[in-house]
Amino acid sequence: MALRFYWHLSSTAAADRRRAEWGDGDRPWVPARDAGSRRLQINHYDYLTQVARAAELTGFDGIVIPDEPEGEEPWIVTGTLLRETRRVQLVTAVAPGSASGVYHAKMAASVQRFSGDRQGWLIDPRQGPEAGDAIDEAEVPARTGELLTLLDGVWGDGPFDQEGRHFVVEKGGFGDLVRGRRRPPVWLRASQAPDADLLAHAEVLLLDTGLSIEALGDFVSGARDAYPDLRIAARIPLLARAEAADVAVERGRTAPSADTLVGTYDDVAATLADLERAGLDIAVLSATNQIHEVHVAGEQVIGRVRAAAIAA
């Protein structure tokens, strides 16, 4: 299968954060908060949905909706995209400690019903005490395993029973609610070092360890060999410009991190083709100033990779 492209939809990047936000008159280009007419006003979700639609229109296969502590809640972002997008996969960050197992699965059932089975789950296994999730580190994998077992169990007629340490269900099962619907494919983070029991529930392993772009190829081929049944995804911040001189200017301005894929459109397309040959299935691209960069990535980078694949 050809390399797939997903966009990492951040709601915290500095360049994006204030778009379509309320202002207090400090910025002339945004609407001032006006209680009298606020129901008719735009809001930040007009911007987020526009980025998602831009990704869809420029050839992305999916959107990853992360759980950023300073950002929007990912289930709500997912919900707002259901009628705003038609084709892209919606990979929602799921925190096992944030809801009961049945409720997580119940929300997923509606997302699948309304989206034509486009949801996936990206597991963020532990949130920490400030989120009310004060679980012992040692218990975290077991809880994730219970959640994923429960998801499989209730996704059907049942009766499903589970007497776990973290989740319980008695005579569970969604029946007609999910008949013919796909259980959301599960993405696990490589940074969490998931064990074999957890990987048995997963469809995608996301390489998210912030490895330098030079080291990523070996990591991909190692993961490809180790997990032949999984799809391998990698989080790749992107800085791509038309000419080398443009790249140099942008590099000087933004000081990209070591894991950023930097170069001309041709350079980065070539690197992505190399990663595909190493075994990469899904590139999760990200950048700030998203409405600009999603077009750069979609039109220039995805366009080049796909055109080269067709020519070959």
Binding site: R17, G36, S37, R38, R39, L40, Q41, N43, H44, Y45, T49, P69, E70, G71, E72, E73, W75, I76, V77, T78, G79, T80, L82, R83, E84, R86, A95, G97, S98, A99, S100, G101, V102, Y103, K106, M107, A109, S110, V111, R113, F114, S115, G116, P129, E130, A131, G132, D133, A134, L150, F167, V168, V169, E170, K171, G172, F174, G175, D176, L177
Partner: protein, 384 residues
């Protein structure tokens, strides 16, 4: 004082007529004459879903002057949070009254979801807090706690949810929840807390309501009984230090004449099979409200007239569709008069419903609400 009128979004399909019991709108019934089955054209997926029909109901309600709608949550319904987030983008003024049980979400997550949804909807989130009916359904949901525990948990949940939202960094070490320096990011924290509709009649429920609720919500019951309950709730919560308002959830069948309205009931009753009457008999839960209504003898009725409880109040709605037994039936004038009567008995807000929900939102909004005592109607313009 103004009265809020909400509509209802049927979250498990709808029917094109109160005369039929099947959910022929939505994807719950197969493609057949009279069935809408959105999502299937020529037997194949067409890219739409029941969500799109719910969007049209919400739009019909806001066009017709309702301030919003209740989104019920049961095992076989779609999820109110997901529906509301999607419909925030499809509606302008419609408020989303989200039914949820505190035990199903962590309070910090609930605060984040609610504040994000406030941002996505420009402040249109309302809560219908349900503490749970108990029994097998509660364990189906994965909730092992018993009755009084659950009300204690509801109180603690709302303490933490509000604390994290408005008083962060917030630390709490309680019976059910622990949080250390929890807070929402500034963009979310500045959003308003949702108005809270609350159900439950026990002392434990009223203590929780007195601490957190804005509206006490009841199904329609015989008028005298309901007035007494509202008086008790208002008195008890006042003793506990909070002025609470009262709301009624009620289905209506309103037609130009009494005869036309009752003909709907007669035909609907005629379509009820003996099996579903018996099923009603078995469906008694352990909640006080359900037990009260079970005393009406619905399962034994052989004639629709046997179930007339008082003028314009019929007690057999649970035979026609899942849900409360009592509803209001009559001419536009008489339905309006009964609603006025309920306002006189202490109702401050209504959640109305009628089948089919889309077209009937227009009918009730255009024909019934304008006949209510003029001061009572809160029009959308006035709300703004």
């Amino acid at each position: 004082m103004s009265i809020d009128f909400y509509w209802r979004i049927p979250t498990h399909g709808c029917s094109s007529s109160i005369r039929e019991r099947s959910f022929n709108r939505g994807d719950w019934s197969p493609l057949a004459p009279g069935n809408q089955t959105p999502g299937l054209v020529d037997g194949g997926p067409d890219g739409t879903s029941y969500l799109d029909h719910m969007a049209e109901i919400a739009r019909a309600a806001e066009i017709s002057g309702f301030v919003g709608g209740l989104l019920p949550s049961f095992p076989m319904t779609d999820d109110p949070w997901v529906i509301s987030a999607a419909l925030a983008r499809a509606t302008k003024a419609f408020r989303f009254m989200i039914a949820f049980q505190p035990g199903f979400l962590s309070p910090v997550r609930a605060a984040r979801m609610s504040a994000s949804l406030q941002r996505a909807s420009n402040g249109r989130v309302v809560y219908n807090i349900i503490t749970g009916g108990g029994g097998p359904a509660q364990r189906w949901w994965g909730d092992p706690f018993d009755h009084d525990d659950r009300y204690g948990r509801t109180t603690e949940f709302l303490d933490v949810m509000k604390g994290v939202w408005k008083d962060g960094p917030y630390t709490h070490k309680g019976h059910f929840y622990e949080v250390e320096n929890g807070a929402l990011p500034p963009a979310l924290a500045q959003e308003d807390l949702p108005t809270i509709y609350f159900s439950g009649s026990s002392e434990a429920a009223l203590q929780s309501a007195a601490r957190h609720a804005d509206y006490y919500l009841s199904w329609l019951e015989p008028f005298g009984q309901l007035a007494q309950k509202f008086d008790q709730v208002k008195a008890r919560t006042a003793e506990l230090g909070r002025a609470i308002k009262c709301a009624i959830r009620v289905e209506v069948v309103a037609r130009p004449t009494e005869e036309e309205a009752w003909r709907e009931i007669e035909l609907g009753f005629a379509n009820v099979k003996a099996a579903s009457r018996n099923e009603f008999g078995e469906r008694r839960g352990d909640s006080v409200g359900v037990q009260r209504l079970a005393g009406l003898g619905v399962a034994d009725a052989r004639d629709w007239r046997d179930l007339i409880v008082s003028p314009n109040v019929w007690g057999g709605f649970s035979l026609l569709r899942p849900g409360p037994a009592l509803g209001i039936v009559g001419s536009y004038e008489n339905v309006a008069a009964r609603l006025d009567e309920l306002i006189g008995l202490g109702a401050d807000s209504f959640i109305l419903a009628a089948t089919p929900h889309l077209e009937e939102a227009y009918r009730v909004g255009e024909e019934v609400l304008p006949l209510l005592g003029h001061r009572a109607v809160q029009r959308l313009e006035a709300a703004e």
